[in-house]
């Protein structure tokens, strides 16, 4: 036992990255009108970690990550990203922070008046302000290759399937090398095979780009493949936390219901 503890200590000292917290939320509250959606949300996301947030629809899972990226302002609590309180940031600070955070929307949110190439060039020219067309082309082709869609480079979003749109959306987010990825139901509306491909892609990209991720989903297969840690949300609070295997054996009825449906 002592030996194991010593081994763990050594491992922590050898890989300080594992300890670094990139998102720290404490007691976040958020209401829309009279409805309190987030009642008391607290979690830490460590560097290189994948957190999956499970919960029924309308429980405020997406609201949580919208607060993280500054799309919504929490009513209470504190929310630190890379050690800085996001609730007190001005527009310019928020803009700088957002460059480090990627957000994959449910439908991909591709700009439908632009080709795939233009969609990917957009953040490079507008956010990173790149001018060299050779460098831009190299980045666009590289990231499209990583998501396996190099052939679709000149297609319009309307010519792509749901899974392809999500992959391109993911490529557009990854092209600016974010340190944190927020996935809003990445597999919703996809067939099981494509869902699995997307989940495996999330893992592959996490390893390749060393990204920390928060994945909002109610797809248990996606949770099983991607999660280092799972948070289960109910009635605006987290009711359980643990690995997939730990939660699978949980006594909590609500938690078990997710796994039972999956089984």
């Amino acid at each position: 036992m002592k030996e194991t503890n010593q081994h763990n200590e050594a491992e922590k000292e050898l890989s300080p990255q594992k300890k670094e917290v990139v998102i720290r939320a404490k007691g976040i509250k958020k209401s829309f009108g009279k409805k309190q959606v987030l009642k008391d949300i607290s979690f830490d996301l460590k560097k290189g970690e994948n957190i999956v947030v499970l919960g029924k629809s309308g429980q405020g899972k997406s609201v949580t990550i919208q607060c993280v990226v500054g799309m919504l302002q929490p009513d209470g609590g504190s929310l630190e990203v890379f050690g800085e309180d996001i609730t007190t940031m001005d527009d310019d600070e928020l803009k700088q922070l957002r460059i480090k955070i990627g957000f994959l929307f449910q439908g991909g949110a591709l700009y439908d008046s632009m080709t795939v190439r233009d969609n990917l060039e957009f953040p490079l020219t507008r956010v990173l302000k790149l001018k060299d067309q050779k460098e831009i082309n190299k980045k666009v082709e590289g990231v499209l290759d990583a998501v396996g869609l190099l052939d679709a480079i000149d297609k319009m979003p309307s010519d792509l399937s749901g899974g392809m749109r999500k992959r391109v959306g993911l490529a557009r987010t990854l092209i600016v090398n974010p340190e944190i990825m927020l996935y809003d139901e990445p597999t919703t509306g996809l067939d099981p095979i494509t869902s699995r491909e997307i989940s495996e892609l999330i893992n592959r990209l996490q390893r390749k780009y060393e990204i920390s991720s928060v994945i909002i989903t109610h797809d248990m297969e996606c949770a099983r493949i991607t999660a280092d840690r799972i948070l289960v949300m109910d009635d605006g609070k987290y009711i359980a936390e643990g690995s997939y295997k730990e939660l699978e054996k949980s006594d909590n009825e609500m938690v078990r219901s997710f796994f039972n449906v999956s089984a």
Partner: protein, 259 residues
Amino acid sequence: MEAQQELSGWRKWLEGMGDYVLFFTRFFRNIFTGGFEWSEFVRQCYEIGYRSMMLVGITSFIMGLVLILQLRPSLVDLGAESMLPKTLSVALVREIGPVITAIICAGKIASSIGAELGSMKVTEQIDAMEVSGANPVQYLVVTRILATSFMIPLLTVIGDAIGLFGGFLALNFTDSISFSLYFNKCIASLDFSDLLPAVAKTVLFGFAVGFVGCYKGYHSDKGTESVGIAANSAVVTASLWIFIIDAIAVQITSLLFYK
């Protein structure tokens, strides 16, 4: 209960006005911040200007033609048939041309901007731009509002010329007048005080069309039906603003030029 409802109505109205002011401030601030989207501005000028030219041209041609046919009997009764080119040109250039062009553009352009930005909002494209650290106001709003403010005056000038040509054809249905005599009479009857205020107010009409279209689309709710509501509301509000601006512009022009 009724008083509470009335209070909440006023509150909503005031909040709406506040949103308009904030949106205007964001637009104005973004004109002067770096990174103007020239290529998008040119694309919008093409979409808004060139693609509306046929519609504005046909409408203006018919307006010129109809006005002459309607005016002719009255002026013939007064023995003032020779005043037809002057009457048409003054009416067309000062009032009918700018207002008709702006109303057509409100129907065609404000609705299309409202629907386009509305559907971008519904499909989270605007949110995606915002969270990526790009500036959606710079790319989507500034370019569209400046393009309408620039292209609607141009469309009006072209529409006026086509309307005068329509009037020339209408005059030749019953009378015979040469092209050069007709246009000389038209041009001679127009003054600097006719052209400048007319063009100046079309810039404001263009601004109203672009601003209202962008505001309604950018602030549409998240639902498919809200795209239709945004488009419809953009047309109605822009048309109303065109008449309000026209009423104010006429008062100012009268004070400054027609004492």
